[in-house]
């Protein structure tokens, strides 16, 4: 009997925490801060600036633009890949700017803003492994972050490979460098940076073909239409004013190690 009592209380609590709350946009303005969930460990999207010790990056800039527009202060909250969606759903953050790729399953849980980045999800391998094509990863181990779309993408696109998931980028990456797994699947940009860092000690190469391509959006709780409209307005304005281009160049452009060109526009994610 006791067990059922405990379960009932648990269910009741879970139900209570998911009940609808007041308009979030109003809440944020009243509070005067926008709480933005971000990873903090994914250069160049969100990472700690070694000089200032602040978390900076492309994702962070997106959040700060939203905060500026609403006229509130920005508060960053670092979180793990795995915890980000539950944290948003439970209302501990207002918005997610956390390398959040669009998937159909996630879109049933949370809303996405317009996409502000389009990511090529690739696999990095050691040069000495001699792996050059995704097919060669069949029967091998590929690491990814726990709860990431890459982990699911590898299982979907290379079903013969075994995925091993880790809590953070550094563990998943170290596992490749130390030969515990054969590849690491993540956003190309993250991989480019890591390859650069490991250039001398352990040469790595990135498999040319993408495992999959995914649009990234800011995550917003379901049903917060007013807030979502505002966020989308900010993003669209960034695109038309050319500021979005500027931000892209700042973090990924020719002056950076990535030397990328922007080949997408900010727009609604087509599921």
């Amino acid at each position: 009997m006791k067990l059922t009592h405990i379960l009932t209380i648990g269910v009741a609590l879970a139900a209570a925490t998911t009940t609808a709350r007041a308009d979030q946009l109003a809440d944020i303005k009243e509070r005067g801060t926008l709480v933005c969930g971000t990873l903090g460990t994914a250069e160049p999207f969100s990472f700690q600036d070694p000089k200032t010790r602040e978390i900076v990056g492309y994702d962070v800039d997106m959040c700060s633009k939203v905060a500026d527009h609403l006229g509130v202060k920005l508060e960053l909250k670092p979180m793990s890949v795995e915890a980000r969606i539950p944290e948003l759903m439970q209302g501990r953050v207002d918005i997610l700017a956390a390398n959040l790729g669009w998937t159909a399953e996630r879109a049933q849980q949370i809303d996405y803003s317009h996409s502000y980045f389009v990511s090529q999800q690739k696999v990095v391998v050691t040069e000495e492994s001699g792996i050059t094509a995704l097919e060669q990863l069949a029967g091998k181990k590929v690491s990814a972050l726990k709860g990431s779309s890459s982990a699911q993408g590898v299982q979907r696109e290379i079903p013969d490979a075994e995925t091993v998931t880790y809590q953070d980028t550094s563990s998943a990456f170290l596992a490749v460098v130390q030969g515990k797994v054969d590849g690491f699947c993540a956003s190309e940009l993250i991989l480019v940076k890591l390859r650069k860092q490991a250039e001398e000690s352990s040469p790595l190469s990135i498999i040319e073909k993408s495992v999959f391509v995914e649009p990234w959006g800011l995550g917003i709780r379901k049903g917060e239409t007013a807030f979502k409209t505002e966020v989308n307005k900010v993003l669209t304005d960034l695109d038309t004013s050319g500021e979005a281009d500027g931000l892209f160049t700042k973090w990924f452009g020719p002056e950076t190690v990535y030397e990328m060109k922007r080949d997408f526009k900010i727009g609604e994610i087509q599921g």
């Binding site: 269910v11 998911t18 049933q108 690491s143 726990k146 998931t165 130390q178 515990k180």
Partner: protein, 232 residues
């Protein structure tokens, strides 16, 4: 918006398979680490009894390291640190032989060994010294006194604390998910990140953990009762 509790959503198709793999891995990891832990614990206890001071210091150092460094750190050290010190051939061999599981077993087992040896020591110390003296006075040598008088009683006394350590070890296997061992917690989180049925997924895991814990306790109780000396 009410919450619909729907355990079937996480207990069907591939999710059920994941749970079952997870449970199997958790049990295998517990069993393997338990064997490592018991063996280490017994060896350390024997080393400690050697009447040569540095032997005792060695065991004390071992116990203090494993008790005072967080287990997760020890696991990371075994997984990311120790293999790098090995020769390439050996390292590649480990990496191609389920290194996550093996290294997690070693880390968990060795840490458990530290607690086991402490329990064994306290068990031996709880036997009055007069019994040892009595055994010696009727002509037993040191080994005989230990083997026939002290250890049989000490082992019975330490069964309850050892069951306790086994339970802790069993629950600590969940830390192995940090290095990618596909045990129950790892699989639960995987199911969670696919289905977003957090409450259901963890409810299943909780019930399984509780069930296995109760089983361990029951086995411990039976062993305790079967081996208990009848008081005449």
């Amino acid at each position: 918006m009410g919450y619909v509790f729907d355990p079937a959503a996480v207990l069907s198709g591939q999710y059920l398979d994941w749970f079952l793999w997870g449970i199997a891995t958790t049990i295998a990891l517990t069993a393997a680490a338990w064997l490592v832990g018991m063996t280490t614990g017994i060896i350390l206890t024997l080393v400690r009894m050697v009447p040569f001071r540095p032997c005792e210091w060695l065991v004390v150092g071992y116990v203090e390291y494993h008790r005072n460094v967080p287990l997760l750190v020890q696991i990371f050290l075994w997984y990311f640190g120790i293999p790098e010190l090995l020769p390439d051939v050996l390292r590649d061999w480990i990496n191609s032989h389920n290194s996550e599981f093996v290294l997690a077993t070693i880390a968990l087992g060795l840490a458990n060994g530290a607690y086991v040896t402490e329990d064994l020591r306290s068990g031996i110390q709880s036997i009055p010294k007069t019994q040892y003296e009595a055994a010696r006075s009727i002509g037993f040598n040191y080994m005989q006194a230990m083997g026939w008088v002290i250890l049989p009683q000490a082992f019975r006394i330490v069964i309850p604390p050892l069951v306790n350590q086994t339970l802790l070890l069993f629950k600590n296997t969940s830390l192995a998910m940090a290095i990618g061992v596909g045990e129950l917690t790892y699989r639960t989180r995987e199911v969670d990140s696919y289905t977003f049925k957090t409450f259901e997924a963890f409810a299943v895991a909780t019930i399984v953990y509780l069930g296995i814990s109760f089983a361990i306790m029951a086995i411990g109780n039976i062993a305790d009762r079967k081996l208990k000396l009848e008081i005449r």
